[in-house]
């Protein structure tokens, strides 16, 4: 069995020599830098279709206030006051894929942006930060632009909890 001992010793030592914690850190570091560099590549930029990235959009105001520009057509509780943010749902709720979409004017750059008011669903009404601005709201006979219907559609539960306000594009004047 001597040859087997030698073989396992050699492979174990070889593995230890070639895979120090430092080399793992170096490899991991390279991977992290690589991943960060990928969005800079022109291919990734092209896939965004020339649409504004959230970080490029000039912003002002408090996302937890009804007066915040993105909330111009909102009718409901701000998810930011309910354990989520203006772009994400609180834990335990599901974002409705079917949604009311409108435009709001950004006071900083004066441009209109397309906003998607996806509701978060699956828990009873949040009850904090109720906002009812409803700009652009139309009567029930225009259901795609009506805010009084429950937009928790296409989700497991139709229980309404709160609303997000997600920028999905730049409007054309």
């Amino acid at each position: 069995m001597n040859w087997l001992d030698k073989l396992s010793e050699r492979s174990t030592r070889g593995l230890a020599r070639g895979s120090s914690r430092r080399s793992w850190l170096a490899g991991m570091g390279a991977a992290l830098v690589g991943a960060a560099a990928v969005p800079v590549l022109p291919v990734a930029r092209a896939s965004s279709g020339g649409q504004p990235q959230a970080s490029d959009i000039p912003d002002s105001g408090d996302p937890l206030s009804c007066d915040y520009w993105r909330h111009c057509a909102i009718d409901g509780f701000l998810c930011g006051c309910c354990g989520g943010t203006e772009t994400s749902c609180p834990p335990g709720t599901e974002m409705s894929p079917i949604t009311w979409i409108g435009t709001c004017r950004n006071p900083v750059d004066g441009k209109s942006y397309v906003i998607s008011y996806n509701d978060c669903c699956g828990k009873t009404a949040c009850g904090h930060c109720m906002c009812n601005r409803n700009e652009g709201d139309r009567p029930m006979y225009r259901p795609d632009k009506n805010n009084d219907i429950n937009w928790c559609l296409g989700t497991k539960s139709t229980l309404y909890h709160c609303s997000t306000a997600i920028i999905i594009g730049l409007a054309v004047e």
């Binding site: 079917i98 949604t99 397309v114 795609d144 632009k145 409007a171």
Partner: protein, 155 residues
């Protein structure tokens, strides 16, 4: 390289003219549907967001069984008799708060960007005049008409 020095709009116009020349030169060969069918793609894309995307979702992905899927599908309607009319008369199109020219452009944009491979080779883009005539005729039995068209597609 002949496009060097032209604005984007100019380049598109030049490309459209070139396509026209090629289409004449290669008569009889199927022409690949292209974005040239759309007059204002930027406006059509935003009109899609504001009038369709709330339910049909980005890229017309839809929700099978809940919201009709348009991605890689909606072009099939142009392969069956009555389908061309249906796409204008379906309430989401006919009732949209868009004028006839904008609705024509939006429909053409949806077809060439979301479902280009299903378009028949001899497809002719919608015009505002055609859309005006078609949307004036109400479609009462939407679900039944759609089911009949879908059945024809697979016959």
């Amino acid at each position: 390289m002949i496009f060097v020095g032209l604005s984007w709009r100019g380049r598109r116009a030049a490309a459209a003219m070139l396509t026209g020349v090629l289409a004449v030169g290669a008569a009889g060969e199927p022409e690949v549907p292209s974005v040239n069918a759309v007059r204002n793609a930027d406006k059509a894309r935003v009109d899609y967001m504001l009038n369709c995307q709330g339910c049909h979702l980005p890229e017309g992905r839809g929700i099978p069984g809940v919201v009709p899927v348009m991605k890689n599908y909606v072009g099939n309607f142009l392969r069956v008799p009555g389908g061309r009319e249906f796409l204008v008369q379906v309430p989401g199109s006919a009732n949209a708060a868009l004028d006839d020219a904008a609705l024509a452009d939006l429909l053409n944009w949806v077809l060439v960007t979301i479902s280009p491979e299903q378009l028949p080779a001899d497809w002719v883009p919608y015009t505002g005049t055609e859309v005006a005539k078609l949307r004036a005729v109400p479609l009462r039995e939407v679900t039944r008409r759609r089911a009949a068209l879908v059945e024809q597609m697979w016959r």
